[in-house]
């Protein structure tokens, strides 16, 4: 471990001189970030360059890095999970080494370095407010301006002799390669979508195969998104569940606890199953569920969930209260499942805004109506029982 805590005192980080220089009008942020850059816990040391010490990392992730990823996946301190923007050395790069660009979301940064064991490259981290490459590109924070500004503020031109940058393909919605070339003199090459393909890409002389350029959505990539979807839905569940228990307790035919234990408990279970249906099963089974619209997929799996619950509940379908309660859950469960699955469009990798808007125009009113009528029906079933 290099003693960077000593060196950081004597070291003057290359700082931009005025706002117009940086191109992004964020001078204060730059200063704040550069001060902390050499003092981050995940660094392996620092490396001395012609412009001073730069933070150095290795491709091996520590248990803290992994733990951070897990927390971020579950939505704990997610928005603070960032690294200081600027230039980093992975291994011991020199003035001929490749320059890879990434976002300052720690998970993006970690995936990049993990994918490059044994390589010596420069990593230019842009300030994307701790948001990943794809989302930041959509917002424009991973954009032409920030990139050009960061090239200048990191004095990249005097650290490497060549004038090439490798950018993740998924930042392309925010970065105009031809304008970057014009403004900074650096030629942008779009690397593969996945960091895991980078080694092969570099070995092939910065050539991506067709497969590297296609954004797929395999089971593994869908599965890691489940925790955050589930956590969000469960937050709403924690508010709804007590309300249902109290409502059923007050309105039912028997005593408060007997009612809550019968209607209330089943209601809580039904909502929970609807959430699991829409946030877990629909995500896992996405390609195999019928329909193109996510609402249809979610509705379908919701119906299956409803049927399983109906079987478990063993409702007396001969009597009206039982029939009405069944109808209530037939309305509510698939609608919740459809809504949550529709929300997954944002996390999916292939839905267009035009498509989502079109789907929502008909699906959202139906979902809201089904849930509203379902709740009224459920209350009615308890009242007449």
């Amino acid at each position: 471990m290099d003693n960077y805590s000593d060196s950081k005192n004597k070291f003057e980080f290359p700082m931009i001189q005025d706002k117009s220089d940086c191109g992004c009008g964020n001078t204060e942020k730059h200063i704040r970030n550069t001060v902390s850059a050499l003092n981050q816990s995940f660094l392996s040391g620092s490396i001395l360059t012609s412009v001073g010490h730069l933070p150095q990392v290795s491709s091996a992730l520590s248990w803290q890095d992994h733990w951070g990823t897990i927390k971020a996946r579950f939505g704990v301190f997610r928005m603070d999970y960032s690294v200081a923007p600027g230039l980093y050395a992975l291994g011991n790069p020199d003035d001929n080494s490749s320059v890879l660009v990434t976002a300052n979301y720690k998970m993006s940064f970690d995936r990049l370095r993990k994918a490059l064991p044994g390589r010596d490259v420069w990593i230019l981290v842009l300030d994307t407010d701790g948001i990943n490459v794809w989302c930041a590109a959509g917002k424009g924070t991973f954009g032409t301006e920030e990139l050009v500004g960061r090239i200048k503020s990191s004095v990249l031109a005097s650290i490497v002799k060549h004038r090439k940058l490798i950018l993740p393909q998924l930042c392309a919605p925010g970065v105009a390669a031809h304008i970057v070339a014009k403004l900074s003199g650096f030629k942008v090459q779009y690397g593969p979508i996945r960091a895991e393909d980078l080694s092969a890409y570099l070995d092939a002389g910065s050539k991506a195969t067709e497969q590297m350029r296609i954004m797929s959505f395999p089971l593994k990539e869908r599965a890691v998104l489940i925790p955050i979807e589930l956590m969000e839905a469960l937050k709403a569940f924690l508010i709804i569940a007590p309300v249902l228990l109290v409502l059923s307790g007050i309105m039912g035919p028997a005593g408060f606890w007997a009612n809550a234990g019968s209607y209330g408990l089943f209601a809580v279970l039904a909502i929970l199953c609807a959430i699991v249906s829409g946030a877990v099963f629909s995500t896992l089974l996405l390609p195999y569920l019928p329909g193109r619209a996510f609402s249809i997929k979610g509705f379908f799996i919701g119906i299956v969930t409803f049927l399983i619950l109906l079987y478990l509940r063993d409702i007396n379908l001969q009597a009206w209260p039982g029939r009405i309660e069944t109808l209530a859950w037939l309305l509510i469960i698939p609608a919740i499942s459809a809504f949550l699955t529709m929300n997954f469009t944002g996390a999916s990798t292939y839905t267009s805004l035009s498509g989502v808007k079109k789907e929502m125009r008909w699906a959202l009113p139906l979902q809201i109506a089904a849930i509203a009528i379902g709740i009224i029906t459920w209350i009615g079933a308890i009242l007449i029982s």
Partner: protein, 106 residues
């Protein structure tokens, strides 16, 4: 695995054949292989696969491609309908932590 395709005939992608010089930049940046090189210029081979990310039009040096780009995210659309945090879903724009932080693409 088969490639997932969203709704049919909704995409706003437009390509101007006359402007296209066939540089192939859009082929590089498109994450869904929507384009294909056809001798001298590019053609759209799979319109329905387009997710309107806008990478192609942003990186087209001759402005031959237009698309109304945006994030295909229901939570974001709901947020904008409710007047919250614009059209973005992947966390706040301004750095405030109160905004919607749904699982969306992040």
């Amino acid at each position: 695995m088969k490639n997932l395709v969203y709704l049919k005939d909704v995409v706003t992608l437009q390509l101007d054949d006359n402007k296209c010089t066939g540089c192939g930049m859009c082929l590089d940046v498109c994450p869904h292989a929507v384009f294909k090189m056809n001798s001298k210029h590019v053609v759209i081979q799979n319109r329905d696969a387009c997710m309107e990310c806008g990478a192609c039009s942003r990186n087209c040096p001759v402005d031959a491609i237009s698309v109304q780009s945006g994030v295909g995210c229901a939570a974001a659309v709901i947020n904008s309908m409710l007047g919250r945090d614009g059209e973005f879903c992947c966390g706040p724009d301004t750095g405030s932590k109160t905004a919607n932080n749904k699982g969306c693409c992040c």
